[in-house]
């Protein structure tokens, strides 16, 4: 094990990890927004749009992220749309994550009894008010574990970004291996970098899950 090699390349990994984390954050926030919009469309049963949402969800969940990225990076330019590596990676992560988050919202929404809606309707609330004030807050509390699992899943998925020439952790690792043949050291640093990113998130989310489970609105 070449410790000097490791210590001299730490800054490279830190920079790459920063990029990975930044894109993961944009991706997760974007995915949550897309998921929320999808579930709102389903709740309001908007014609046409709800079919589009269904097609999107099936398409997104049943194709690998790598293929989605290839489409964005190599396919779209043929249609005259050229995106940077970063934009492709972010868009790809949102496209993939959106459907998982939408399913997360759906699980929560389905767990709220229909009569809660009726109770809100009979007070004169509109369908939109009922969704945002009554259904969503209860649904989110139920869905927290799903959102947490999705978050970790999406961060792990970022490891394919190197395929669209984004200088993320995987890209740096492959670069170093190609240049110096220090395969062991480079891969070790890659594993540790991902652990450093994911372990705290994993701990925070499991704490959050426990809190949501026991807090239970005044219980």
């Amino acid at each position: 094990m070449d410790l000097e090699f490791i210590s001299s390349h730490i800054p490279m990994y830190v920079e790459a990890a920063g990029l990975t984390v930044r894109i993961a954050i944009y991706g997760i926030i974007g995915a949550l927004i897309v998921g929320l919009i999808c579930s709102l469309i389903k709740e309001l049963k908007l014609p046409v749009l709800k079919e589009i949402v269904q097609i999107y969800i099936e398409l997104s969940r049943n194709t690998p992220l790598l293929i989605q990225l290839f489409f964005l990076y190599f396919g779209l330019p043929k249609l005259g749309i050229v995106l940077s590596s970063k934009a492709c990676a972010t868009a790809g992560l949102i496209f993939l994550g959106g459907s998982y988050m939408a399913e997360g919202f759906r699980t929560g929404i389905d767990s709220v009894p229909q009569i809660q809606r009726e109770s809100a309707y009979s007070l004169g609330l509109t369908r939109e008010q009922t969704f945002f004030r009554i259904i969503l807050p209860q649904a989110v509390a139920t869905s927290v574990p799903v959102f947490c699992a999705n978050m970790i899943f999406l961060i792990k998925e970022t490891s394919v970004f190197s395929a669209v020439a984004l200088a993320d952790l995987m890209y740096v690792t492959k670069d170093l291996i190609g240049l110096y043949y220090n395969t062991d050291e480079a891969l070790l640093m890659l594993v540790i970098a991902y652990l450093i990113i994911l372990l705290p998130i994993s701990l925070v989310t499991s704490w959050l899950e426990r809190r949501v489970r026991y807090a239970g609105f005044g219980n």
Partner: protein, 252 residues
């Protein structure tokens, strides 16, 4: 004669093309009147109440509020429902909101009323039904009877023209039934217009101005409680009322 508030003509409802749960129901209720709907389970009384609030889509017929036909478009319906209060068997308070938030939600959000005024009224109403000290608690921390009294307050604060009560004591322990029905009796005394579905026959006798007996989706009898409980006209009503007397079973 008091004015008619709610009027229903030829209301018909069936589920998934099956036989009619409600068959050409004609009904009206006047301001300040208390009408109790009774009947064996599955006779359509809950469905009838739910149709009045359009929680069930009706197949045909008309519902008029203050003489005006109801516009059931998604835009207009909330405006109508605002005027029709409804209390459910299972309370259906919003679990993520405190008692006070539950009560204040609709007046603020739907009627856009002044917050201080709504809060004062909410506290007054909660005190009246005896749950003032629970106002900052969550529904889960309340007993069934307390939850149901909060649910009644949540409807009352909207100042509805009619209150629909759908078996509001059916899920309660016997000792809690009384505290809830006491509230309803007081409302009746104050002139609240109410349509009540209940299995509590003694309560029905005490509170009703008029009793409606539903059987197989049709109104079989409609008369003052003294007559309905004293000398019901139809065989079906007699049989129904007999099921509440245990000694009657010995005759079999």
């Amino acid at each position: 004669m008091a004015e008619t508030i709610l009027e229903v003509s030829k209301l018909t409802k069936s589920f998934d093309g099956g036989s009619a749960v409600l068959n050409e129901i004609n009904f009206s209720i006047k301001k300040g009147e208390v009408v109790v709907v009774v009947g064996s389970s599955g006779c359509g009384k809950s469905t009838f109440l739910r149709c009045l609030n359009f929680l069930e889509q009706i197949d045909s017929g008309e519902i008029l509020l203050d003489g005006k036909k109801i516009d059931i478009s998604a835009k207009a319906l909330p405006k109508y429902r605002e005027k029709i209060g409804m209390v459910f068997q299972s309370y259906e308070l919003f679990p993520h909101k405190t008692v006070l938030e539950n009560v204040m939600l609709a007046p603020l959000l739907v009627q856009k009323r002044n917050k201080a005024e709504v809060k004062a009224e909410a506290e007054k109403l909660l005190a009246r039904v005896g749950v003032a000290e629970k106002k900052d608690m969550y529904p889960r921390q309340l007993s069934g009877g307390q939850k149901q009294r909060v649910a009644i307050v949540r409807s009352l604060i909207m100042h509805p023209e009619v209150l629909l009560l759908d078996e509001i004591t059916a899920a309660l322990d016997p000792e809690m039934v009384r505290e809830v029905l006491q509230v309803v009796l007081e409302l009746a005394k104050e002139g609240m217009t109410m349509l009540i579905v209940t299995h509590e026959m003694d309560f029905a006798k005490a509170v009703a101005d008029r009793v409606i007996f539903l059987d197989q989706g049709e109104i079989i009898e409609e008369e003052p409680p003294e007559i309905f409980f004293g000398e019901p006209k139809t065989e079906r009503a007699k049989r129904f009322l007999n099921t509440f007397h245990y000694e009657a079973l010995e005759d079999k």
